[in-house]
């Protein structure tokens, strides 16, 4: 009757350390350019080796420019950090995907690249120096966001010292209405349970709504677990998972695939698994959701009024008032992308809204595919033409305006309709910039209308 979390934890537990923490083997370590250079330096200073270089994979996403990605990058710091990662990977024998180098066609946001290459698999423990590592739980892995000192530990030992967490089962049941997406579900969950409600828990998502979701939708849900305080979020592997994985580059084939499926099936939580807590969400109650505040828990349904007990600091910063709607808020920027919503299905949903329409004249709108593979898939479907003819900029792959470590930034008090994951003060690069989180389709609708609107008013295709 164990949960997936307990099974995976136990299969990877090396020993109990003298401190009482568990030494946990990490099956897959993903590395990017921003949180790793100091870790590699620490490895060098101690004269250590990388213990399992074949279990670590690296790419660049956080700082890379998305306008032009030819090397050397125009941004000298981006070039320096990419070069440092190249040097470290060469020195320690780690696979790396960066623009301008062999394998560069696999570059992208680390949480998009791992699943699309089939590196991410059920039953694994995964670590990465990025809090959105929880994304990988969509495939039934236990994935931890870690800091740089822990990146050093994983490089040196392929292990982490951790305390186990409790498991909260979150059932989402029923059908989502048209125009309501996975993003709306996770924003609703975070609003209900709080931005720190998940501290000390792994979130196991299930129920008929989650069961019916694609892997990409499940990734959106698991991605934002950390915004609810849960370091780990996952969905039990099922037929959808196995079908997604089949044929991907790092997934075994033939008889080995069948053996893998048998093992993956067995790591799912038992039907009679005991949970430390249970929460049930009714999918039919979920509306297109937008944030009004400065953390991802501060959200409302599109027609809902901002509550009377809304936080003063958030209202002041955002320029909102209690008792009004976010609907109708004029926007300056529309951003579609990020590890939350930068995959092909996200771009397709946004393109359906955009097709035959045009971005409002005062809005700067950009689409940043989550990876070069997503970009190629979009090209094959003709999406770049739809977006660019509507007035969107079509960019190269990276994190871009989600955290604004590259030139993609808000200016002044600009308001951004964003498909990303954090509406923290200053998050999108301007200390006074304002972020409204929503689904990619809602961002597309806002870009067209020039203000926040209910995407359900634009679901019907524009006649050609």
């Amino acid at each position: 009757m164990p949960t997936l979390f307990e099974k995976v934890w136990n299969a990877h537990a090396v020993r109990v350390l003298p401190s009482g923490q568990t030494q946990l083997f990490v099956g897959l370590h993903l590395v990017h350019e921003v949180t790793s250079p100091q870790a590699f330096d620490m490895i060098r200073q101690h004269g250590w080796k990388v213990a399992f270089p074949e279990r670590t994979f690296a790419t660049v996403d956080h700082i890379v420019p998305t306008s032009v990605q030819t090397r050397p990058f125009i941004d000298l710091t981006a070039e320096e950090m990419t070069t440092a990662l190249e040097r470290s990977c060469r020195e320690f024998g780690i696979s790396l995907w960066v623009p301008g180098q062999p394998g560069g066609e696999h570059q992208g946001i680390v949480h998009v690249v791992g699943p699309e290459l089939g590196l991410t698999q059920p039953g694994m423990t995964i670590a990465c120096g990025d809090s959105h590592t929880s994304t990988h739980g969509a495939l039934g892995a236990i994935a931890f966001g870690i800091g740089t000192s822990q990146v050093r530990d994983v490089l040196a030992s392929q292990c982490l010292a951790l305390d186990p967490v409790k498991v909260r089962r979150i059932d989402v049941n029923g059908r989502l209405a048209p125009g309501v997406f996975a993003k709306d579900v996770i924003l609703t969950i975070i609003r209900r349970l709080g931005v720190n409600g998940g501290v000390g828990y792994a979130y196991e998502y299930g129920g008929s709504t989650i069961d019916g979701m694609s892997i990409e939708e499940r990734m959106t849900i698991c991605n934002m677990s950390i915004e609810g305080g849960a370091r780990v979020g996952y969905v039990n592997p099922d037929e959808t998972t196995f079908a997604f994985l089949k044929g991907r580059r790092f997934v075994p084939s033939g008889a080995a695939f069948d053996r893998a499926v048998a093992w993956w099936r067995a790591v799912a939580s038992d039907p009679d698994a005991r949970y430390d807590d249970r929460v049930v969400i009714d999918a039919s109650s979920v509306e297109p959701t937008v944030t009004w505040g400065i953390n991802p828990g501060q959200s409302v349904g599109i027609h809902e009024l901002i509550a009377a007990d809304a936080d003063d600091e958030a209202l002041t910063f955002m320029g909102f008032e209690r008792g009004r709607r976010v609907e109708g808020t004029r926007i300056d920027v529309a951003f579609i992308g990020s590890c939350t919503n930068g995959r092909i299905s996200d771009l397709e949903e946004a393109a359906k809204i955009v097709k035959g329409r045009h971005v409002a004249p005062h809005v700067k709108a950009l689409v940043v595919p989550g990876s070069q593979a997503v970009s190629r898939a979009a090209e094959a479907k003709g999406l770049p033409e739809i977006f660019t003819s509507a007035g969107f900029e079509w960019r190269g792959a990276g994190c871009s305006m989600c955290l604004a470590m590259n030139p993609d930034k808000l200016e002044g008090r600009q308001v951004c309709a964003s498909s990303s994951n954090r509406n923290f003060k200053g998050r999108q690069g301007s200390p006074t910039g304002r972020t409204l989180l929503m689904s990619p389709a809602m961002v597309a609708a806002a870009a067209v209308a020039g203000e926040v609107v209910d995407v359900r008013t634009m679901l019907e295709a524009v006649p050609a």
């Binding site: 537990a13 090396v14 401190s19 099956g27 921003v34 250079p37 870690i146 030992s157 305080g229 690069g429």
Partner: protein, 195 residues
């Protein structure tokens, strides 16, 4: 590694729930391959927006204990946030609660994060705001935080507490000490051997 049993010093109160690591260390300061100099940029945007921010108050200069509220360090896993605090001279944090990643990152730097109830933390913040010269004493073994006449019972996660007390708060050496056991676990995992 040294043992950490107590931290004493003046305190710096930073009020507010859900202070995320983007607030503590804005992302533009992560554009570097080292952690050097991060201490100069702590709460940089908050300080610019609010002249009354505790980090703008010279009375708190030299403080070694940071006093914060609920869910401190949420958001990004960037170790740059606790690195900046540690490099600024902070040696312990007392707060209502912390994000797991921030708490773990801080522990790796030998910087304990004590949790206490809201009323106690508020009392400590008020005390320090009124008398910044007050010495705050934090005990890792008992979780007791004292300042003037104020006595607060705080807690640390037991494994981290024991790690500080035994000088094993940075686990790399432990993780490497029985490497055969690591190889044994790896060899039992079907995905490591390719199914």
């Amino acid at each position: 590694m040294p043992t950490i049993t107590s931290i004493s010093g003046r305190a710096l109160p930073v009020r507010g729930d859900d202070l995320d690591t983007d607030r503590i260390m804005p992302a533009r300061f992560l554009r570097a391959v080292t952690f050097e100099g991060l201490e100069k940029h702590l709460f940089e945007d908050d300080r610019a927006a609010d002249p009354g921010h505790a980090y703008n108050n010279p009375a708190y200069r030299g403080a070694t204990v940071l006093v914060v509220n609920k869910n401190f360090g949420c958001g990004s896993s960037r170790e740059h946030a606790p690195q900046g605090l540690a490099r600024q001279g902070i040696k312990a944090i007392v707060g209502e609660s912390f994000s797991e990643i921030f708490l773990g990152n801080s522990a790796m730097l030998g910087m304990p994060c004590f949790s206490a109830d809201r009323a106690s933390v508020d009392a400590l913040q008020s005390l320090v705001e009124g008398a910044p010269e007050t010495v705050v004493d934090t005990r890792v073994d008992t979780g007791l935080v004292t300042a003037g006449n104020l006595r607060i019972q705080a807690t640390l996660p037991p494994a981290l507490r024991d790690g500080f007390l035994s000088g094993q708060w940075n686990p790399t050496a432990m993780l490497l000490s029985q490497f055969d056991a690591v190889r044994a676990v790896a060899s039992r995992l079907p995905y490591v051997s390719g199914f």
